[in-house]
């Protein structure tokens, strides 16, 4: 664990926004490293798992275990627009399900999938925390509240035309 000299490291380090080598000794940095990797790549490529494993000295299998445990991490790239549908209690009792149905109809994908054109990914989240606006969805950083199914078409259209 002295010198890190993987071929991948040489080529790809520029993409990785943090200096891994200074991080390797800090306690419990694995989740932070994975978050940074995902920030840089949009997901966690397999080669990055091996690379991090080499640097911090944790077996790749254990790292894979951590990745799959937390819902934030993904092993595949995402669409250009990530639609998060809130499944919180307030949204649930305010018919959030119908919004999900409308989204699925409009996009032709289910939760966890990405459209073939790579434009939209549909995710469900436990709660976006703006319950007074229920039902709510988020498209990238933009929040849409007090929704009714009829509004979905227009929202999606807006992003398709961007």
């Amino acid at each position: 664990m002295n010198e890190v000299n993987l071929p991948f490291f040489q080529k790809e380090i520029k993409k990785f926004k943090i200096d891994l080598v200074t991080q390797k000794d800090s306690h419990g940095s694995l989740i932070y490293l994975l978050q940074s990797a995902q920030d840089s790549y949009g997901y966690i490529p397999e080669k990055v798992i091996h690379y991090i494993s080499e640097v911090v000295g944790i077996p790749a299998a254990d790292i894979y275990g951590v990745i799959t445990f937390y819902s934030q991490f993904r092993l595949r790239p995402l669409g250009k627009y990530v639609i998060k549908i809130c499944e919180g209690t307030a949204c649930h009792v305010n018919s959030g399900k119908n919004i999900l149905k409308a989204l699925q109809n409009e996009l032709g994908i289910s939760v966890g999938e990405t459209t073939n054109d790579g434009l939209f990914s549909l995710q469900s989240v436990a709660c976006l925390g703006c319950c007074s606006l229920a039902p709510v969805i988020m498209v990238n950083e933009e929040t849409y509240g007090s929704l009714i199914p009829k509004k979905i078409k227009g929202i999606i259209k807006k992003y398709r035309e961007l």
């Binding site: 306690h27 419990g28 940095s29 694995l30 989740i31 932070y32 994975l34 978050q35 275990g65 951590v66 445990f69 937390y70 819902s71 934030q72 991490f73 499944e87 919180g88 209690t89 307030a90 649930h92 009792v93 305010n94 119908n98 989240v125 436990a126 709660c127 976006l128 925390g129 703006c130 319950c131 007074s132 606006l133 229920a134 709510v136 929040t143 509240g145 199914p149 009829k150």
Partner: protein, 587 residues
């Protein structure tokens, strides 16, 4: 000079607060006006966002539901011409909204939320900020701090309700070469947003509470474990920590004393179970967030094996106030066993959804009707759901119940972290129980068999009940499974996961029975148990429903009432959504 405040908590931003803020800013710049424009956190009236408050000589004009156009008009009329726009002002209405909402509240934790600019340490300081930590460093021994907190009767606001003073004493007495303070900001309950609002609106109060805790137990290092889904709160915390470091409030020799203290932020990666303290510690250590057996408790062996004190955001935010105002003024509020106040996130079918802080001992009815303004659309109050997925439903008939840790626990629900979802007659209790169980089932870490598989089996049973395939013996089976899961799970997640099912079974058993025996969902929520029918009187024969129907189950001639063929109908509800005349009915 006039001061304009714009509420830019997540709720305000979601409602379009940034655009309003930018409009105000460009108007002020363009017209070279002498006013102070600042952003604040959430003042709790989320249902009226975007909120813009104009303050002059201590008089406040609170404008609700403002958009960029209205913002321009506020500048022209109120700021320039000095004519407040009466019809948009909430605290000026006949039955003042603002007064109604705040009258029964007692704001300790939320004392600065919506009042100060959370990005400014100076504003926090002018509101007695960082006085408590200085008092503690100069005048009090660690034991004395712990005594004050103990005597105040403050109990952990994260859900467990353990006496904070006692927890601190355990950590103080534990032996270890290093000790840690952790702030649990992994607010994962769906429908709860108290901690987020405090962190967004008043981050310094939490930092100060942590510093005091650090002094009390002898810790010089602290972590805030916060959900990555709260980007704004993280930003505010980072900024607050930076400001403290610059002023010497954090670092070595804080406030010129011999004490050292540093605070780091750890972002969670999305796992509900990490709200459990041992799982949270594992997550900070970079591992899978799986709980472990207690004892040893974190107070003895916590982070990296060292004595660790964990409290949640709201608990820490109470601390500076208690130190400055004394244990007695805190314990004078509330009931025998539950002191002080509690912040609730009011949501669901309630008129004023938002954040409210009320003294312990207030009844549920008072919270729902007096603070929350009652039920939306004049529907009937059915129940409140407290404590999120670990809690339960308390029926409207028990509305006189006092908000008190022990009284609520007796109903089968829990105080929890403070999510309070109001339900009306259009909520199906079986569906709601299924919703929560689905959540905990997804979030179970998988360590304990009963939690992992038991909740799955319970969910399957609930699924078939809502599909109209429930059996008479299912209810007994649900109960028996529920108690086994409670008994054989290691951590709070499994031990409380069956609560939503148990409480709905206890108070709304007849609804389950209606699903099983009559194959009916009384609230018309469970799709499989709804029959769609077209009312011949209301139908205008516009043919829209027939066009929308994906299985051509609707027949009828133009301008004549249509009919749904029940054998063909797949109960998708598209006709119901499509009809503009309310002619499609659910029965």
């Amino acid at each position: 000079m006039k001061e304009i405040r714009v509420g830019l908590g997540t709720c305000g931003v979601s409602a379009g607060g940034i655009q309003v803020f930018n409009t105000l800013k460009s108007e002020i710049d363009a017209k070279k006006l002498k006013v102070v424009l600042k952003e604040t956190g959430c003042m709790g009236m989320c249902y009226e966002e975007v909120l813009v408050e104009v303050v002059e000589n201590g008089t406040s004009f609170l404008y609700a539901k403002i958009n960029p156009e209205k913002a321009k008009k506020i500048i022209d009329q109120h700021i320039i011409d000095d004519r407040p726009i009466e019809e948009w002002i909430v605290n000026n209405r006949a039955c003042s909204e603002k007064e109604e909402f705040f009258k029964k509240q007692k704001r300790i934790v939320l004392r600065n939320c919506g009042v100060i600019d959370p990005g400014s340490i100076d504003e926090y300081i002018t509101r007695d900020g960082y006085k408590a930590i200085q008092k503690v460093l100069k005048e009090l021994s660690p034991e004395e701090i712990i005594d004050i907190i103990y005597q105040s009767g403050l109990r952990g606001r994260g859900g467990g309700g353990f006496l904070t003073g006692l927890k601190w004493r355990f950590a103080r007495n534990a032996k270890g070469e290093k000790k840690y303070i952790i702030c649990n900001a992994d607010e994962g309950d769906p429908g709860a947003f108290m901690d987020r609002s405090v962190l967004e609106g008043d981050p310094h109060s939490v930092l100060e509470g942590m510093m005091i805790a650090g002094r009390a137990i002898g810790a010089d290092e602290a972590y805030i474990y916060i959900r990555a889904e709260y980007p704004k709160a993280i930003l505010r915390l980072e900024n607050a920590i930076k400001q403290c470091a610059e002023r010497g409030y954090l670092g070595t020799g804080i406030f010129g004393s011999d004490a050292n203290f540093k605070i780091k932020i750890k972002e969670g990666a999305g796992a509900f179970v990490c709200g459990e303290e041992t799982a949270l510690i594992a997550s900070i250590e970079g591992k899978r967030g799986i709980p472990r057996i207690r004892p040893p408790f974190p107070a003895q062996k916590g982070l990296w094996g060292m004595p660790t004190n964990i409290n949640n955001v709201e608990t820490y935010a109470n601390i500076p106030w208690i130190i400055l105002n004394g244990a007695e003024s805190f314990s004078s509020m509330g009931t025998e066993q539950s002191k002080g106040t509690k912040v609730f996130a009011l949501a669901g079918k309630i008129v004023r959804s938002g954040l409210a802080e009320v003294p312990m001992g207030m009844t549920i009815n008072e919270v729902v009707f007096d603070v929350g303004g009652g039920i939306k659309d004049d529907r009937k109050f059915k129940a409140v759901q407290m404590g999120g997925p670990s809690g339960g439903c308390i029926p409207a008939s028990m509305g006189d119940l006092k908000i008190d840790y022990d009284e609520i626990t007796q109903t089968g629900a829990i105080m929890g972290s403070g999510g309070l979802i109001v339900l009306d007659e259009t909520t199906c209790m079986v569906d709601l129980a299924k919703f929560f169980l689905n959540f905990t089932q997804n979030e179970s870490c998988g360590k304990c068999t009963f939690c992992r598989i038991g909740t799955k089996r319970m969910l399957e049973i609930l699924d078939r009940i809502t599909m109209g395939e429930g059996k008479e013996e299912d209810l007994d089976l649900l109960e028996s499974l529920a108690y086994k899961i409670k008994d054989s799970s290691l951590c709070g997640l499994g031990q409380t996961a069956p609560n939503p099912v148990l409480t709905t079974l206890k108070y709304f058993r007849e609804e389950y029975e209606a699903h099983i025996r009559d194959k009916k969902c009384p609230a018309h929520i469970c799709p499989a148990l709804i029959t769609y029918k077209i009312s011949a009187e209301k139908c205008t024969g516009c043919t829209l429903c027939a066009k929308k129907c994906p299985v051509q189950a609707i027949s009828g001639e133009v301008k004549k009432p249509h009919l749904i063929n029940q054998n063909e109908c797949i109960k998708c509800g598209l006709c119901y959504d499509a009809c503009s005349f309310g002619a499609v009915e659910k029965i």
